[in-house]
Symmetry: C2
Subunit: 333 residues, 2 copies
């Protein structure tokens, strides 16, 4: 294992310290328990808090800032944060209109956010993201996994909260965006969790893992390596089938297409995937009117990528387009 | 070699098409010869054109837009663009105040941009970037290599050009920023050029390449793998020695610190490097007042990173801070 680290136990603290220093205009770092908040506390709004295991950066700390999250709680690499982190974060950012947790659907995260919610002295609600249509139930999950679509949920809910909406409205929008979003990933290589010191899974030079999770969990099947267009067809068909199963009409539907790198996939390849996916979805009557291409929800240094399609309506579009000022997403300000 | 590609010959066109579609609000793609321009042509300003081999994305096309480049000319992977590309780009973006080429110092790029310059019917000048202090002369270079510092040159010169400055002022600022910028990179793994199909160099699980170039060119030396703090000390000392050799004073000096990922290094590790580098430079009396951390000048899927330090003055600071609206750098708009 070759990584830019010192002691394995110090990775998180050193990395968070670097992040907080580099973005001192945007975020404040709180240690023991670990959480990050906006530099300037927002007033009189629903406070949006997310979190999860580290190793998926820029998720979630990279999305703290005006128009998106109020706080993020980072666990150790691929390990859920603990309830004391969420409680301390909530105490810090509560702004008189309740707390909304945005949680990716993994057993550890769900349990720990639930425990925190039970202890919260504030009105609260939770949006569980479950956009991964690759598999139902998985290594760390009952039900579907929450993956790159979480960024779209955080962006839209963050925008609505910024406008002064109440807790229930934020929860309702988050659930709607999640429902209208489907993702699937593919891995060409494994990642290596520093504390484990060896690759999470074995994969040969001629194979790919279709439907992989963002921790290297198994997907739908192991396949032989093939051309990008063929890989993208398989991914797009999984997404289209998922919307069909949900009875969501695709004809003349406007959509946001997110092509997300898992960590080690060059931008050239991500844009090539975007090109192939756009052609395919367009052929199915979908208009891709919003795009996001890059490393937004990673799996350490895994080579691979995911495709996420979010079916837009006027409300989702308005909240996606609204100004956002975070270290990882910024426009309109 | 596992990559998201179809035919090797089609990578560039498919990837550029995806980029141009995803950022259709910002850029226009022109094919045969290949170049990209701003969507909306700027008026009455020095036109800033850069380019070079592909595989370093977001460099250069990701920096097209208001406040930065007017056009970019992408060659094949790690291969210089040809003069017809630069000529066509110049014809397209010329806006009555001359053409400034920003060129990374590699023999092929220098030759082809020079040939284009000789044929240009417009007033023109060239800024050669050579910020890599790792080695003098290299596989593809006479003199020092131009690497991640090129982004800082493009940002500052782009800002000055946007303000209506003349060609000579833009050239002078570009040369100054280059002179006050030093970089050094380190590789943990090689990259694989698609057309070659195998890693550019061999490196074992216990080694690193100190001073590597952004095409995988050899650096200063092959070393045994070590802790991040030790790696960063060696890199920082090379940078400090370079400024000392240039007689640039560092005491109470304000600086921009860019920690750049080569493609496969997780953000967690880049921020850990940023943390270590900030401590070191601060101990040498330098104040890090501007930060950039992420994948800005990559080497395909190489695991590794570079550190760039730019010594700020009021002029450079003003142009770094000014609004920019490109797909890869955006603030103030």
């Amino acid at each position: 294992m070759k990584k830019f680290i010192n002691k394995t136990d110090d990775i998180l603290k050193e990395s968070l310290s670097g992040f907080a220093t580099a973005h001192a205009d945007l975020v404040s770092l709180h240690l023991e328990p670990n959480f990050l908040t906006r530099k300037t506390k927002a007033q009189n709004k629903v406070a949006i808090i997310s979190g999860g295991g580290s190793g998926h950066e820029p998720l979630h700390a990279g999305y703290i800032g005006n128009g998106m999250l109020d706080a993020a709680c980072p666990g150790h690499v691929f390990t859920s944060p603990t309830p004391d982190q969420m409680l301390a974060a909530a105490e810090s950012v509560y702004a008189d209109k309740g707390i909304l947790f945005i949680v990716k659907n993994y057993a550890g995260d769900v349990m720990n956010f639930e425990m925190a919610a039970e202890m919260l002295p504030f009105e609260h609600a939770t949006v569980l993201t479950s956009d991964d249509c690759a598999v139902i139930n998985s290594t760390y999950t009952t039900g579907r996994r929450g993956v790159a679509g979480t960024v779209i949920v955080e962006k839209c809910v963050g925008s609505l909260a910024e406008s002064g909406a109440d807790l229930q409205s934020c929860k309702t929008l988050g659930d709607k965006v999640n429902q209208r979003t489907a993702s699937i990933g593919v891995a060409l290589t494994s990642c290596t969790v520093p504390a484990a010191g060896r690759p999470t899974f074995d994969i040969s030079e001629t194979e790919l893992e279709m439907g992989v999770g963002i921790h290297g969990e198994p997907g739908r099947k192991r396949e032989s390596m093939r051309e990008a267009d063929e890989i993208v067809i398989e991914m797009a068909e999984a997404i289209l089938a998922d919307f069909k199963a949900k009875d969501l009409s695709l004809n003349q539907q406007e959509a946001l297409l997110l092509v997300n790198g898992f960590g080690a996939t060059p931008q050239m390849e991500l844009y090539l995937i975007y090109h192939a996916a756009t052609k395919l979805f367009t052929a199915h009557g979908i208009t891709i009117s919003r795009a996001l291409v890059g490393n937004y929800v990673t799996a350490l240094e895994m080579a691979g990528a995911s495709i996420t399609l979010c079916l837009l309506d006027d409300e989702i579009k308005r909240h996606w387009d609204s100004p956002v000022h975070t270290s990882a997403l910024r426009w309109g300000v």
